[in-house]
C-alpha cells in the first residue's frame, strides 16, 4: 500500500517536471538575453564609416570631425540592453523599444535594440548575480554593488575600458572625459580603466536642487528682509509664531533636518560647513565631530525649546509636512526644489495669499557668500556598463557613444524636434505637448516617452534641463541662487574606499551614524544637556571616529593621486 503511494507521488513529480520543461522551452527564448550580435568586424566597420563620413558634405562635417563615427551605422548590428522598467511609461508601453525614444534611437543609430526589462533593483541585482546579462546594462552599480564599479570589473561582471578602446570606439565620450577631469577620475579604476558610460552633467551651472524655503509674503507682512544669518532666521521664525500665529514656524522632519544640515543650510553661521564630511585643502573633515558643532545643536535646541520647531519633528511624515506648509501652520522648511517647492506652489496656485521664496544657506555675517550648499555630483543616476557577456564590446561602445554626440544629446535630452521641443533663438524649449499635454499626461510622463533626461542614461545631460523643468519663477530662482556657493571647493568628490578597508568602513559608518543621529536628536530635544557634548565627542572617538576619518582621508588621497 505504502509503495503505491510513493510511486504515485513520484509519478506526479515527474509529470509536473515534464510540464515545467514544456513551458520552459517557450519562455527560454524570451529570456535568452545574450543573443550574440551579428559578427560585423569592428575594425572594418569603423573604416567604412570613416570613409563614408569623409565622403559626406560639410553639413555633417563638424560632427564627423569630432566623432569619427557616423550614425546610423551600417549593417544594423543588434544590441541587448538591460534596463529598469519605469512606471512613468509602463502603463502605456510594454517596452523601451516601443517608446518614441526607443524607435528614434534605433533609427538614428542604426542599431537594433533588444530591451531586457527588469522591474526593480532587486531583480537587477539577481540578474547580475546569476551572470546572465545582456550586452549593456543601465544601472546604479555605484550604490547597488558592494565595492562599487571597480569591484564589479574585478568580479568579471562589467568590462573595464582602456583609454585606447574608448578613443577608438567612443571618441565623443572620451572627449567629454578628457575635458572633465573630475568625472574621469571618479570613473577610473586603479588599473587605469574606465568603468562606465556615465550619466554626466554638462558643466557650468548650478548643481543645487535643494534649498531652504520660507514664506516671503509673511516676511513682507512682518516688514523684514529675507534672512541671511542665523539670528535673522531666528527672528523671522519668532515673528511667524508670535505675530502671525504660525503653529510650527519651522517644519523640518528628521530626514529633512538631517539633509539640511548635511547641505550646510543651517551649520555655516557656527563655523561648520556641513554636518557631513567635507574637505578643506585636501583634508577631510567630519562636521559632526567638530567642537563647533555644539553651537549648531545649541541653536536648534533653542528653536525647539521655544516652540519654533515642531515638537514632534522626529515622527513627522511627508504628508504632515505638506499639510503644514500648505495650510499656513508653518512658514519655513528645506527640501528639493522640484518635488517639494514645486508641489507647494502648484497646489496653492490659486491662493493669492501664498508665496514661497528660496533663501541661501545661512551664513555668519550678512552679505557673506555661502561656502557650502547642496551640490549634485557631476555623475549622478544610472550609468551604462558593457557587460562581460557582450560578444562585441566595440559595437556596444559605438552605440553608447551616441549619447555624447550633438545629435544624441539632443535626442536623449529633449526628444524629437517639432514634437517635444522647438528651437527658439537657438535654445531648445519644451513644446506644449510636454508642458500642457492634451491627453492629461504629466510633464514627466511625456518626457519619459521621448527622452531620458527626466531620469538618467548614457548621455550628457544639458545644463538647461533643470531650468526647463522648473516651471515656477520661484523655482528657477531657487535653482540659481543655490549655485551661488563655493561648495565645489569643499564638497567631497566621489571617492572609492580601499577594498581592504571596506568592511571596517561600513561597520564604523553604520555604528557611528546611528549613535550620532540618536544623540543629536537628544541634544536638540533637550533630553541630553549640551554640557555632555564633550562626552559625545569622546564617545565618537572611542567608537572609531578617528579611524573613520583616516579611511576617508586615504580614499581622498588615492582619488587625488589618480
Amino acid at each position: 500500500m505504502n509503495k503505491r503511494i510513493v510511486s504515485i507521488a513520484l509519478a506526479a513529480a515527474m509529470t509536473s517536471a515534464l510540464f515545467l520543461s514544456g513551458c520552459g522551452s517557450d519562455s527560454g527564448s524570451t529570456t535568452a538575453t545574450t543573443a550574440p550580435p551579428p559578427q560585423t568586424t569592428a575594425a572594418g566597420k569603423t573604416e567604412s564609416a570613416a570613409a563614408e563620413t569623409a565622403a559626406q558634405t560639410e553639413d555633417t562635417q563638424a560632427a564627423a570631425e569630432q566623432t569619427g563615427i557616423s550614425y546610423p551605422v551600417e549593417g544594423s548590428p543588434a544590441i541587448s540592453w538591460g534596463l529598469l522598467r519605469k512606471s512613468q511609461w509602463s502603463d502605456r508601453y510594454d517596452s523601451f523599444t516601443d517608446l518614441p525614444l526607443g524607435k528614434a534611437l534605433q533609427e538614428q543609430t542604426g542599431y537594433t535594440i533588444e530591451a531586457v526589462h527588469v522591474d526593480n533593483n532587486q531583480a537587477m541585482n539577481l540578474m547580475i548575480a546569476s551572470g546572465d546579462l545582456p550586452d549593456i546594462i543601465s544601472y546604479y552599480l555605484m550604490s547597488q554593488y558592494n565595492g562599487k564599479e571597480a569591484q564589479a570589473v574585478k568580479d568579471g561582471i562589467i568590462m573595464g575600458m582602456t583609454p585606447e578602446f574608448l578613443q577608438e570606439n567612443a571618441p565623443d565620450y572620451w572627449a567629454y572625459l578628457e575635458a572633465n577631469e573630475d568625472v574621469k577620475r571618479a570613473l577610473l579604476t586603479n588599473d587605469g580603466e574606465i568603468v562606465a558610460f556615465a550619466f554626466v552633467r554638462e558643466p557650468g551651472v548650478s548643481r543645487s536642487v535643494q534649498t531652504l524655503m520660507v514664506r516671503d509674503d509673511w516676511c513682507e507682512e512682518l516688514g523684514i528682509e529675507l534672512p541671511e544669518t542665523a539670528d535673522e532666521f531666528y527672528a523671522m521664525l519668532k515673528g511667524f509664531k508670535e505675530q502671525l500665529g504660525a503653529e510650527v514656524p519651522l517644519a523640518l522632519p528628521t530626514g529633512h533636518l538631517q539633509s539640511a544640515l548635511n547641505n550646510g543650510f543651517l551649520t555655516q553661521p557656527f563655523g561648520v560647513l556641513s554636518r557631513d564630511k567635507y574637505q578643506v585643502d585636501g583634508k577631510v573633515i567630519f562636521g559632526y565631530m567638530q567642537p563647533e558643532y555644539k553651537d549648531v545643536l545649541a541653536w536648534l535646541n533653542k528653536l525647539y525649546e521655544e516652540g519654533l520647531m515642531d515638537p514632534n519633528f522626529t515622527t513627522m511624515d511627508g504628508d504632515t509636512l505638506t499639510a503644514y506648509m500648505l495650510s499656513g501652520d508653518s512658514g519655513a522648511t528645506a527640501g528639493p526644489i522640484g518635488s517639494m517647492m514645486g508641489t507647494y506652489l502648484n497646489t496653492n496656485a490659486d491662493n493669492e495669499n501664498y508665496s514661497l521664496a528660496a533663501i541661501k544657506p545661512l551664513v555668519a555675517n550678512k552679505g557673506d557668500r555661502p561656502k557650502f550648499g547642496h551640490m549634485q555630483n557631476l555623475n549622478i543616476g544610472a550609468n551604462a556598463y558593457i557587460t562581460m557577456n557582450c560578444k562585441d564590446p566595440a559595437a556596444a561602445a559605438r552605440f553608447l557613444n551616441y549619447g555624447y554626440t550633438d545629435e544624441g544629446k539632443k535626442l536623449y535630452n529633449w526628444g524629437i524636434e517639432g514634437v517635444t521641443y522647438n528651437m527658439v533663438d537657438g535654445q531648445p524649449v519644451l513644446s506644449d505637448l510636454v508642458t500642457n499635454n492634451p491627453d492629461g499626461l504629466t510633464t514627466t510622463q511625456v518626457l519619459a516617452e521621448y527622452t531620458l533626461s527626466w531620469d538618467s542614461g548614457p548621455f550628457e545631460i544639458s545644463k538647461d534641463i533643470n531650468a526647463q523643468y522648473y516651471i515656477w519663477p520661484e523655482q528657477k530662482e531657487a535653482y540659481e541662487i543655490g549655485g551661488e556657493t563655493d561648495a565645489a571647493l569643499y564638497k567631497m568628490p566621489d571617492t572609492t574606499i580601499a577594498e581592504e578597508d571596506a568592511d571596517e568602513y561600513s561597520r564604523l559608518t553604520s555604528e557611528i551614524n546611528t549613535y550620532r543621529d540618536e544623540t543629536e536628536i537628544k541634544f536638540i530635544r533637550g533630553e541630553m544637556s549640551l554640557d555632555q557634548f564633550d562626552e559625545y565627542l569622546a564617545t565618537l572617538d572611542r567608537m572609531g571616529g578617528s579611524r573613520l576619518l583616516e579611511i576617508e582621508q586615504n580614499a581622498l588621497d588615492a582619488y587625488n593621486s589618480k
Binding site: M1, A9, L20, R85, S90, D91, H117, N120, P336, I465
Partner: protein, 292 residues
C-alpha cells in the same frame, strides 16, 4: 434568569470596546475610500480626521485607473494565477496532507520532519532565482505558481484535519474495498470541507497579495499581476528621492487620487468573496488546531 449588574456593566464596556476596535480597523479603509473621491489639492492641505470627501468630490481617480490598460491585464493575470495556482495548491496540499496523516506510513516521522524543515530553512533568494532560471521558468507565470504550490503550514493544517477524522470511518471504507483515492476523495475530503475553504482563502489571499516573485521573475509587464502594477503606481506617486530632483517637475496631484482609487479597485474582489468564505473560516482553523 436575572443577569447580575456586573455582567451588564461588563457587557456594556465590552461592546463599546469592541466597537472601538472595529472602528480602528475600519477607519483606514474608510479613509481611503473617502480620499479616493476627494479633491486632491484640498486633500493635501487637509490635516485632521477625514469624515466626508474634502473639496469638490471627483471620480477622476477611478477614471484614470480604468484608463490604465495595465490594470486590466493585471486583473487578468492575477485571476489566471489565482485559478491555476489554487488548483495546484489544493490538489497537492490535500494529497500531501493525506499521505502524512496515515498512521502506518513507512518513514512517516522522518518525512514529516523533512517537510517541517522547509518551514524554518530555505535556500535563500539567489539560489531560488537560479533554480527558477535553470528550470526555464523565467518570465513565465508558472514561476509564481509552482515554487509555492504547497505551503508547509497549510499542509500541516490539512494533515491535522485529516487526522481529526475518526479512523473507524476510513477503516470502514477500506473494509468495503475502497482504495486510497476513494478514501481521500469520498470519505475524507467531504468531511473537512471547512478546512478546504480555509485553504482556498489562505492560498487565495497569498496569491492575491503577492508581488515580489513577480517583480523578480517576470520581464514583460503584460504578464504582471495586479499587485505589482499597483505597487509600481504607488511607488511612482511617492515623492522622488531627495538626491536627484530632476524628475520632479511637479508631483502630480492626480497621482494621489490614482493611489487611493487603485487600492479600492484592487480590494473590491477580495471584499466580495470574503463574506462567503468567512463562515467556514473559524470552524476550519479550529478543526485544524484541536488535535494539531
Amino acid at each position: 434568569m436575572e443577569k447580575s449588574k456586573g455582567y451588564k456593566i461588563f457587557t456594556l464596556f465590552n461592546t463599546l470596546f469592541m466597537l472601538f476596535v472595529a472602528a480602528a480597523c475600519l477607519y483606514p479603509f474608510y479613509y481611503i475610500i473617502v480620499a479616493s473621491v476627494s479633491d486632491p489639492s484640498t486633500l493635501m492641505r487637509h490635516r485632521s480626521w477625514l469624515v466626508w470627501p474634502v473639496g469638490e468630490p471627483t471620480l477622476d481617480g477611478y477614471r484614470m485607473v480604468l484608463n490604465n490598460r495595465r490594470v486590466f491585464s493585471g486583473f487578468a493575470n492575477t485571476f489566471r494565477i489565482l485559478g491555476l495556482g489554487l488548483l495546484f495548491n489544493i490538489t497537492l496540499t490535500a494529497l500531501g496532507g493525506y499521505v502524512l496523516s496515515l498512521n502506518n506510513l513507512l518513514l512517516r516521522k522522518p518525512l514529516t520532519l523533512i517537510v517541517i524543515f522547509t518551514m524554518y530553512f530555505s535556500g535563500g533568494l539567489i539560489p531560488s532565482y537560479l533554480n527558477i532560471r535553470d528550470l526555464g521558468l523565467m518570465n513565465s507565470l508558472w514561476a509564481l505558481i509552482l515554487p509555492g504550490a504547497v505551503s508547509t503550514s497549510n499542509l500541516i493544517i490539512m494533515r491535522s484535519a485529516f487526522m481529526a477524522v475518526p479512523e473507524s470511518l476510513t477503516d470502514a471504507a477500506k473494509i468495503d474495498g475502497a482504495g486510497h483515492f476513494q478514501v481521500l476523495f469520498r470519505i475524507l475530503l467531504p468531511l473537512v470541507k471547512a478546512t478546504l475553504a480555509v485553504m482556498v482563502l489562505y492560498y487565495g489571499v497569498a496569491h492575491w497579495n503577492s508581488w515580489f516573485s513577480a517583480s523578480i521573475y517576470l520581464r514583460d509587464n503584460t504578464k504582471y499581476p495586479l499587485q505589482l502594477i499597483l505597487r509600481n503606481i504607488l511607488l511612482s506617486s511617492q515623492q522622488q528621492d531627495m538626491l536627484s530632483d530632476v524628475p520632479m517637475a511637479q508631483t502630480p496631484q492626480a497621482m494621489l487620487l490614482i493611489k487611493y482609487s487603485l487600492i479600492v479597485v484592487s480590494s473590491v474582489p477580495v471584499i466580495c468573496i470574503y463574506p462567503f468564505l468567512q463562515r467556514f473560516f473559524q470552524k476550519g482553523i479550529m478543526i485544524g488546531a484541536v488535535k494539531g
